[in-house]
Amino acid sequence: MAAARSRSGSAAATAISARDVAVRFETEAGQVTALEDVSFDVEAGSIVTMLGPSGCGKSTLLRAIADLVEISEGGIQVFGRRPEDARRARDFAFVFQDSTLLPWRSAIENVRLPLEVGQAGVTVEQHAEPEELLALVGLQGRENALPHELSGGMRQRVAIARALVCRPRVLLMDEPFGALDEINRDNLNEELRRIWEETGITIMFVTHSIPEAAYLGQKVLVLSAHPGRVREFVEIDLPIDRKLAVRDTVEFIKITARLRKLLEPV
């Protein structure tokens, strides 16, 4: 995997930057503004969670970064590239709420999918070993299992391994653990922090769970709804190598209380 880099100090590069982004949709009822006036920067190698009430456009924002939604105004850059160019260069990978595994392919074959499509020839030299990635997400020995033989949590682990196979610089995650039970979710939260530390990848993670946002994020981008705007970009002051137990500390509860307050309607 990529070498772990120093996280403290020196001016890190910007992984994602958004400037005055607006997204509007045409519907039968007229124009709907999903996002307006959204600006923020995500530092390379950091992990940022995005939190907001439903309908605040957090998924839309993530999709705009991934070139799945067209922005109406402003600009987004991923490592200095427009989303479309970043997509073609495989600068980012996307993990959906649904694991989106192909049911006829085994775990390892699903992880290999990104190497077989798109500009696979370009990325094939620098890709990670699918076997190593499955081990990284804790699925060694299950390489040949079909998706229906795996639990929901395991399927999501396969999806994460698949996202990492082209060694992206950014991992975009849209409520990836939203459909899992709490125990699974906690485990995967801890694992994701570990994977982030081991790979040094930049992660942008959408969630509607306040504890998840606070535990995972170095920073939490809080959005407000109708239209979606940046309410506040909150720095989370918790240790880098935090364990799940950190959620039972007073500091953590203070942070979640503050986030909850920010989510209240203005």
Binding site: R63, A66, D67, L68, R87, R88, R90, F92, A93, F94, F96, Q97, D98, T100, L102, P103, W104, L113, P114, E116, V117, G118, Q119, L146, P147, H148
Partner: protein
């Protein structure tokens, strides 16, 4: 009443082990039960019993009411035909089989290719789908004479009829199957910058297989119907022509034997399709996407 509950794991006295070796005995009882349920007789026994019963009923009715053979033969009469006129039946079996198989392949192949085109071109779908629906609404028996006039008296019109009858269910199912891909799966392919061809080959085709096989199972039996109907009109070979000839000459045992042979062909085709489905669809289609 609550006293019994003090030893809950012994709530089934009949299954209680009575000696040290009996623990294994209880387990093998359950195993035997499971094997019994998997056995051929357990699975197929009831259907076989009902079939035998129906044949006996048929025989009994014909004998008891003294029905003449030319109106309804007994099972024995029909069996005699298979023994005595087996060569006639076989000579007419092969052309019908050939027509049914050719029609099955051509009809389904055209349907699959059209479905792939429709999924990639809305214009094609809007242009041709209504025509396909219209052609499907014409009774096949009404098209048959037209095709015989157009294509002559050989294999061609029969194959076309068999192909036509297979075509529509496969087209409809295949279009649905190719479109039965979750929006998120398509978004994933977009993030991976996959082109249409890659989406088709890596995602759409496999996910359409359950739909395709549902249609192929229908087509496997209807292609036989198509071939037989095609032979009804101005043909002097095949099971269809044998049916017409036997009917007009009141050779009822031969008629029945021909019908049974035709049904056997359809059942065989259905069985082969189901077998192919089981081999190809080892993954669970139920939790696709």
């Amino acid at each position: 009443m609550a006293i019994d509950q003090t030893r809950p794991n012994q709530s089934r006295p009949d299954a209680m082990p009575t000696d040290p070796a009996a623990g294994a005995g209880v387990k093998s009882d359950a195993q035997r039960e499971r094997e019994r349920r998997k056995s051929f007789l357990y699975q197929r026994g009831p259907a076989i019993a009902v079939s035998v019963g129906l044949v006996a009923l048929w025989w009994g009715v014909v004998v008891v009411f003294g029905i003449p053979t030319y109106i309804a033969p007994t099972p024995a009469d029909v069996f005699a035909v298979f023994v005595e006129q087996g060569d006639v039946l076989w000579i007419n079996f092969w052309p019908t089989l050939l027509e049914a198989i050719s029609g099955f392949i051509i009809g389904n192949l055209v349907a699959v290719i059209l479905a792939i085109w429709f999924v990639h071109s809305q214009l094609a779908e809007r242009s041709f789908y209504p025509i396909a629906v219209f052609i499907n609404t014409i009774p096949i028996i009404a098209i048959a004479p037209i095709l015989v006039l157009l294509l002559g008296n050989g294999y061609a019109p029969k194959i076309v009829i068999a192909a036509l009858i297979c075509f529509f269910p496969t087209l409809v199912n295949m279009v649905r199957g190719l479109k039965a891909v979750s929006p998120q799966m398509l978004e994933l392919m977009r993030v991976l910058s996959a082109n249409d061809r890659e989406v088709l080959l890596k995602v759409r085709l496999q996910s359409s297989l359950p739909f395709l096989f549902a249609a192929l199972k229908i087509a496997s039996t209807t292609s036989v119907i198509g071939a037989i109907v095609g032979e009804w009109i101005g043909s002097n070979y095949g099971l269809g022509s044998l049916i017409i000839e036997a009917t007009y000459n009141f050779r009822s045992p031969l008629l029945y034997a021909t019908v049974i042979l035709g049904a056997g062909m359809a059942v065989m085709a259905f069985g082969l399709t189901t077998f192919a489905e089981r081999r190809l669809l080892t993954w669970k289609p139920s939790d696709v996407f």
